[in-house]
């Protein structure tokens, strides 16, 4: 019988086919291959919906499709698909956002008469295919391969306008910085194989299950001389390197703001819903492995909380609309990491989902504004766009309310749950979690401030330039994705209203229920047990009403919004950032993160490389050349016996034979 799961590979392959079509014959197609991409992503979306429905019916799927390297011992390298509630949900998010981004591209790229459209749509197709492949991967190595493909596609798409100076350099930076993290990820993958002999995510022989069994003393694995707990933490942190690079966490966040050089729909796809989500999704995918390591969880939570605050402060002073969104992306992914580290697996998944919707919406809304402004991104040249583009304004406002976490928009529910879970587990007596929580809470205020600063500067007040007075219109292909996402940003939070459930007793935490079924080792209950047994989250049995923390964070978000309203919602706003004095310069220069990283690359690494080069040129090459010069010299002498005169050879032969006979005779004692 052919079931929906037999079509799972097609979800990945359809965008890949659109990539091939756009690449091969895109020049001859109408719209430069856009229709192929739209059809393919629509097909993937339909299949993903079917998959979600099947998973909702309680079915899951795990199959190995292709073994591409048979191991001599137990290790086989395979491609397989794993469909469980988490990956099904992610499939739906990615295909939906990819589909909408393809439609939006019609308005942003085709209607603006961009050149090189087949290359653009080929990149989008390959990008979507690699992200979907990453989502359905059933082992860590396959996940790594698609992770790298995602990185490659981001390079191709960020550098789309390669004739200008900015994009190629931003693309290279994105590629190199994420590659730096992926280097650790690769070492982590090898370590997982070396330790467990498998990299499968699911089953009793998967590496999270084996690690758990080893810690419980039921089995033993090769931990290379470390205590199992220490070693699992090391491996987890190695893999986390890739996560930090891709999800743009401190200190590898520097590529993401620069990556805004790419076309805006690409920013929506890469930096809101998919590529950056890959890192967080990976941690959620192998959460069973992180949940057993208190140290790794504490590091994840702290990095997340710190990044959330750090990026939010930088977002306060930016002039370009996309830069503000870039820093908000970093900040929001910080919240997801905070949730994962704080034991809020569902909260992180929830925020991942709502963020995908509202951030894609904000990027597409920014794209719409940029079309209207004839590709001027400076918010100080905008203003008063509210009355000229109402659809963009109201959808953008919906996304902004969600981003700032204002009740009852999607972001409120998810961010509230993130903070609540962290606080609950932090109050058990974990000061690191409490510190991370405090940073996350403070970032809520800044989020409200920079979000509404952006909204007020862009849409309110009086127009501050000629283009803002008479903006370029946008068509249905821009408005349709905005409306879909605008509605989702408003209502997506209702799938998981935990505070309401706690207060009224209604069973409306659908996402909790959703993530509770599936494979035994990959459910919320199992993660709850692990979090209880190993890092002792929730072991104190603390009861905390969600209303108090929720009210605090909502109050902070509203305070931020009110401050933004007071400062910027006036007809002629001015740059209040100057009042910050020195701090403004620091913030404007992103805390000099780029400078010190360039210094590390240029000053430190270069001199080490020069010394290494000297060692290589002097010592290593010296030894090799010395050995070869001995051979050369002796060869040049000994070759003289080859005179070309046959008689000489005969003499040598005879002498050799005589010498041999003599030697045998002496050894055999013939002459005695």
């Amino acid at each position: 019988m052919v079931g929906i799961f037999d079509f799972t590979p097609a979800i990945v392959l359809l965008p890949f086919v659109s990539f091939l079509i756009a690449l091969a014959v895109g020049d001859h197609l109408p719209k430069g291959g856009a229709l192929a991409g739209i059809t393919a992503t629509a097909g993937s979306l339909a299949l993903a919906i079917g998959t979600v429905l099947a998973v909702a019916g309680g079915r899951t799927y795990d199959a190995t499709l292709y073994t591409w390297a048979e191991g001599l011992e137990a290790v086989n390298l395979t491609f397989g698909v794993l469909i469980d509630p988490l990956s099904a949900l992610m499939l739906l998010i990615v295909t939906l956002v990819a589909f909408l981004v393809h439609v939006f591209s019609l308005g942003y790229m085709n209607d603006e008469d961009e050149t090189g459209l087949p290359r653009y749509y080929a990149g989008l197709g390959l990008f979507t295919a690699s992200m979907l492949g990453f989502v359905v991967a059933d082992n860590l190595l396959m996940a790594f391969m698609f992770f790298e493909l995602v990185g490659l596609c981001s390079y191709l798409l960020i550098g789309f306008h390669f004739r200008e100076p900015g994009p190629p350099s931003a693309a290279k930076k994105a590629f190199l910085v994420t590659r730096f993290g992926d280097y650790f990820f690769l070492v982590g993958v090898v370590a997982v194989f070396g330790t467990f002999g498998t990299a499968a995510f699911v089953g009793s022989e998967s590496f999270p299950a084996l690690a758990e069994a080893a810690l419980r003393g039921e089995t033993s694995v090769n931990t290379f001389g470390f205590a199992p707990q220490t070693w699992f933490t090391i491996v987890g942190l190695l893999v986390l390197g890739g996560v930090i690079g891709k999800s743009a966490q401190y200190p590898l966040h520097t590529w993401l703001p620069d990556a805004m050089e790419g076309p805006t729909p690409v920013s929506a796809l890469i930096h809101a819903a998919t590529m950056v989500a890959a890192g967080v999704y990976l941690v959620a995918r192998m959460y069973g492995f992180y949940a057993i390591s208190p140290t790794a969880l504490a590091i994840i939570a702290f990095v997340g909380g710190f990044t959330a605050l750090f990026a939010a402060t930088m977002g306060l002073v930016k002039r370009e609309i996309k830069q503000v969104l870039a820093y908000s992306t970093i900040s929001q992914y910080g919240y997801m990491m905070l949730a994962l580290g704080g034991g809020g697996y569902v909260a992180a998944t929830f925020h991942l989902m709502t963020h995908a919707f509202f951030k894609a919406l904000l990027f597409l809304g920014a794209g719409s504004v940029i079309i209207a402004m004839h590709h001027n991104e400076d918010m100080w040249d905008m203003g008063g766009l509210r009355s000229k583009m109402p659809v963009t304004y109201y959808t953008f406002l919906s996304g902004s309310l969600a981003l700032a976490g204002i009740f009852p928009f999607a972001g409120f529910w998810s961010k509230d749950e993130v903070l609540y879970e962290t606080l609950l587990h932090g109050l058990d007596g974990d000061p690191i979690l409490l510190a991370a929580y405090a940073m996350g809470l403070l970032a809520v205020f800044f989020t409200g401030l920079y979000t509404f600063r952006m909204v007020f500067l862009t849409f309110h007040g009086d127009p501050r330039s000629g283009t803002a007075e008479d903006p370029h219109g946008v068509r249905w292909n821009v408005k349709f994705p905005l409306v879909v996402l605008g509605v989702l940003a408003a209502v997506a939070g209702f799938v998981n209203m935990v505070p309401v459930k706690k207060v009224t007793g209604l069973k409306i935490d659908f996402l909790h229920k959703w993530l509770e079924h599936g494979y035994a080792g990959l459910t919320v209950e199992h993660y709850g047990e692990l979090l209880h047994d190993f890092p002792h989250y929730g072991s104190a049995g603390l009861e905390l009403s969600p209303l108090g923390p929720g009210a605090v964070s909502l109050g902070l978000a509203l305070a931020g919004a009110v401050v933004a309203h007071r400062l910027y919602n006036v007809p002629e706003p001015v740059e209040h950032t100057d009042r910050l004095g020195e701090i403004k310069t620091v913030l404007y220069n992103n805390y000099y993160q780029d400078e010190y990283q360039v210094w590390i690359a240029n000053g430190l690494t270069r001199s080490i490389a020069r010394a290494a080069n000297k060692f290589d040129g002097g010592v290593v090459d010296g030894v090799v050349n010395g050995v070869s010069s001995v051979s050369l010299f002796s060869g040049s002498r000994i070759r003289r016996i080859q005179t070309g005169v046959v008689s000489n050879y005969a003499v040598l032969l005879t002498l050799g034979l005589t010498a041999l006979i003599l030697a045998f005779g002496l050894a055999g004692g013939w002459f005695v």
Partner: protein, 100 residues
């Protein structure tokens, strides 16, 4: 019955004559002849031991060696003809192009 030492002495003498020819002559034809002598010295040994041990195998091998020698002469003469054509003579010390 002639004792085998005499055969061995004869064969050693023939071998040494051949070897002497190879070491001292420069004419390629004489080279070929000397090689034939050495080959036949070995043949004498084969036949002699076969006779002494009463085993026919050695004599069979002797026949094979003769056939081989005939083939070798055919090849050798060919080489000498080419040598003559290329170097206008059959002096082996003239043909020294294949050296270091």
């Amino acid at each position: 019955m002639v004792p085998p030492e005499y055969y061995l002495l004869l064969s050693a003498a023939v071998f040494c004559i051949g070897l002497f020819g190879i070491l001292t002559r420069r004419n390629a034809l004489l080279f070929l002849m000397s090689v034939e002598l050495m080959l036949n010295a070995a043949n004498i040994n084969l036949v002699a031991f076969s006779y002494v041990w009463g085993n026919i195998t050695g004599q069979t091998f002797g026949l094979f060696t003769m056939a081989l020698a005939a083939a070798e002469v055919a090849v050798g003469i060919g080489i000498i003809l080419v040598l003559y054509r290329s170097f206008d003579g059959v002096d082996v010390t003239d043909a020294t192009t294949m050296r270091w």
